[in-house]
Amino acid sequence: MLTSGLVPLAIIGLTAVLAMLLAPRFGAATVRAAAATGLVLAAIAVIARIAAPEAPAPPLFADDGLARFGTLLASLSGLAVLGFLRGHPAAKEGPALVCIVALGAAALASATHVASLFLSLEIISLALIGLFVLPLTRGALEAGYKFLLPGAAGSAALLLGAAFAYADSGRLDFTAWHGPSLLAGFATALLLVGLGFKLSLVPFHVWAPDIYDGAPPAAAAIAGSAAKAGVVIAILRIDAGLPAQPVWHMGLAALATASILLGNLAALRQPSLSRMIGYSSVAHSGYLAAMIVCGAAQAPAAILFYLAAYVPAVVAALCVAASLGTPATIASLRGLAWRRPLAGGVLALALVSLAGLPVAIGFLAKLLLLEALMRSGAWGLFGAVIIGSGLGLYVYFRFFTALFVRDDPLPAPRLRRPEHAVLLLCGAMLLILGLYPAPLLDYLALAAG
């Protein structure tokens, strides 16, 4: 039993239940500590089985390298987000919801069947809506609605696509979309729309910047790290099951190109950090989708590396946004590196990483991205990535410069210990893995099979 791949999922689920039970009786700090302990245990349970053999053909959930990596990333992201949840008004209910999102993301990374895919996506969506709206301010309610309606539209498209595929092939695993018929093509198009909503690819991205801007930073962080990683791994699995469905490949390539270009263009003049991160998440979804669609042999490892680079950068940026207490804009970030060297320094490193420059890990992630596109000869996507990188430099370095300007001293935000820990961990990951990636590369080559 303990050797089953479902153990980490069970631990995260039980942690969520425990956090709910503790919430009425204990203080918020206790609930957070309990949830954090559970997530640490889940991460340990994954690491303990990291080299275990893959389970043979599972009915609903796979137990392979991709699933383990997704589960690890989900539990660690959840853990990091718990570290800056204190700014969230629903401090007692928050930890349980974060655990449920992490559970959904881990399940999504393991899903091999339409039923488990849909179930995981809905678990994530419902818990996220709770996290978004619980502050009960106008902005939070607006963010919740903006997430609910497109999310529902995406789910509906996904379900309809699955229904058509079932009508065509009589199957509900990820090979259901195989057929050459018109119906299968239509089903694939609907699947693409549904997943486009979930991964915030242009033109289904309209909700993303508003959410990042309106929701509490901790909620946006769990959506942008764990949930995104889960969706990406799920799409990777679906792609592996679709041999040569032109609708899928052309469509995903088009969505990726549009996301890379429009995401970066729209971020160019954003004064708000969280809104910029929202648009940047659209662009990075585009980079990830480009890698999935190019079909190079080393693409899966490159995608996992990209996620490992992207998640700490986003978590660190939103952690800083949460610690400011005021909306994080270029103006309010001015001189942060002098006021709070840790927060400013780690945010600077995260921005450099997102821009894809050394010394941060983002540079290597961009290298592997370009290599995957080049080896598969996807020159159109390659050109889009080059243009997107150029635009991205401007996007991220506007904020980067602001961090170091020294003019009128603004008040220094007060960072708590958990936030210190989150920033230190994210900064260490961004820097150390950027300088010495060999262990991570070896592990991911194994995980990606």
Partner: protein, 484 residues
């Protein structure tokens, strides 16, 4: 070990300087000085006892990320050694130049040392992926130097610099990966790839990717748009590092890698490089004539001189390549010295407008003498190292095609025009409304004397440069000749 130390010392020293600033008493400055002197000591020890093999003074291999095929492969010959000496030496000069002036000096010195470290990496590495890493790394600390301590429109100038150079660097990245993807084994080792027999048609494209990165950094027209702004807005130390060091990384890359990796592509593209260089030499010189801002003027002279370097590199004959190598060294001294002097003028009177300066020889004789010496260097007066470099390049051009030689000579004539005009107005003209009455301080004078001595010393004893650089030049010539 000594090779790695030259990169690691400034890299870690920069991190330490961030925190040393809190100690006060110029701790971060002394720390930077110590680190750079230690780097020079490592350079000397690598030259004396590097364990090389005849072609290389020192060579070292360390595995790094075997899964990607990346290793730390550092090799140094006379050309690299000269560039490293310039890098560490100009780093020292930049520290001394900004001894009294900088706010936030911890980060300032960190950025300065990181720039030196990344450039040293470029000058040493022969693993192409690590080369790309250091190439892109250079941009970030230089961006900081311009964006935070510059003048006027500094953020826009820094952004321009960043986007131009980082995007052009992607050309290098793409070419490197394309080579690795088509090679029989997964490796980025330049020596292995050089022998892997890349098809001539592919070589042209690959060299195009490399050349894009290097020529944008070298700032040869029409790829120079970032340079006048960046130089003008940068602080004095930043201008010194930009002109003396960063431009040289582009020149070094062009000198080192195309003949080694893509000899067939080099033969195809060299005429285009000659055309680009000759246009740039004339364009830079003519543009310099029309400038009123002293820094912008020196920036355009850099454009002209780097175009001459490009001509030398694309000449493909011994004289031309040797001239390019010497011009790289000579320009580092003369351009840094001029930026240092203009910075000193700006500190005193708050202007760089040539129309508001004049009559230095009456009010500040040391200034006047220093300016006169380096104007002479910029117009390639015999006896300066600059003359040696340009004369060799022009000699080489006569062997290639007299048209290019004629254009280079014309550019030289134009450089005499602007340099003598400057001499007349700044040194011998009438003192203006705000005369400079405070002459060079002992610190500034010492730096100028060091740079001036180097300019004249190497101009009079060219063997000191030509003998150590000969192996690099000959290796390039041999590779080109083998492809003919």
């Amino acid at each position: 070990m000594a090779l790695i130390a030259m990169i690691l010392l400034p890299l870690l020293g920069g991190c330490a300087a961030l925190f040393a600033a809190r100690l006060g008493r110029n701790a971060e400055r002394w720390l930077s000085v110590l680190v750079l002197i230690a780097g020079l000591a490592a350079l000397v020890s690598a030259i004396v006892d590097g364990g090389g093999d005849g072609r290389w003074l020192a060579i070292s291999r360390t595995p790094w990320a075997p899964a990607m095929g990346v290793q730390l492969l550092f090799a140094m010959d006379g050309l690299s050694a000269a560039m490293l000496a310039i890098s560490l030496g100009l780093g020292l000069i930049a520290v001394f130049v900004s001894w009294k002036t900088q706010a936030n000096s911890g980060l300032f010195h960190a950025a300065l040392l990181w720039t030196v470290a990344a450039s040293n990496g470029v000058f040493l590495t022969f693993d192409l992926l690590v080369l790309a890493f250091f190439w892109e790394l250079m941009v970030v600390p230089s961006f900081l130097l311009i964006a935070l301590w510059g003048h006027g429109e500094r953020e826009a100038a820094a952004m321009k610099f960043l986007i131009f150079n980082a995007v052009a660097g992607l050309g290098l990245l793409a070419a490197v990966f394309w080579m690795a993807a088509t090679a029989p084994v997964i490796t980025f080792d330049a020596f292995v790839l050089a022998g892997s027999g890349i098809a001539p048609a592919a070589q042209v494209w690959l060299l195009g990717g490399f050349a894009l990165a290097f020529i944008v950094k070298l700032a040869v027209p029409p790829f120079h748009a970032w340079l006048p702004d960046a130089h003008t807005q940068a602080p004095t130390a930043g201008s010194i590092l930009l002109a003396g060091l960063l431009l040289k990384t582009g020149a070094y890359g062009l000198f080192r890698f195309p003949p080694l990796l893509f000899p067939d592509g080099y033969l195809v593209l060299a005429p285009w490089g000659l055309a680009l260089g000759s246009f740039g030499a004339l364009y830079g010189a003519v543009m310099a004539c029309g400038q009123t801002d002293a820094k912008r003027l020196v920036a355009y002279t850099s454009v002209a001189h780097m175009s001459i370097v490009l001509m030398g590199i694309c000449g493909g004959v011994h004289f031309a390549l040797m001239g390019a190598a010497i011009e790289m060294v000579a320009h580092a001294f003369s351009a840094s010295a001029l930026f240092l002097l203009i910075g000193a003028v700006y500190d005193r009177v708050g202007t760089r407008d040539l129309r508001e300066l004049g009559g230095l020889q009456r009010t500040a004789p040391r200034f006047a003498a220093a300016f006169a010496l380096f104007f002479a260097a910029v117009l390639a007066m015999p006896g300066t190292a600059n003359f040696l470099g340009e004369a060799l390049v022009i000699t080489g051009m006569f062997q290639v095609n007299w048209v290019f030689a004629a254009i280079a000579l014309a550019a030289l004539v134009v450089s005499v025009v602007y340099a003598t005009r400057l001499l007349k107005e700044i040194v011998f003209g009438e003192p203006q409304a705000r005369p400079i009455t405070v002459d060079l301080s002992a610190r500034e004078l010492a730096l100028v004397v060091v740079l001036g001595t180097c300019t004249i010393w190497f101009g009079l004893l060219p063997q000191l440069l030509m003998v150590p650089m000969a192996p690099a030049v000959e290796a390039a010539i041999a590779a080109i000749d083998a492809a003919r």
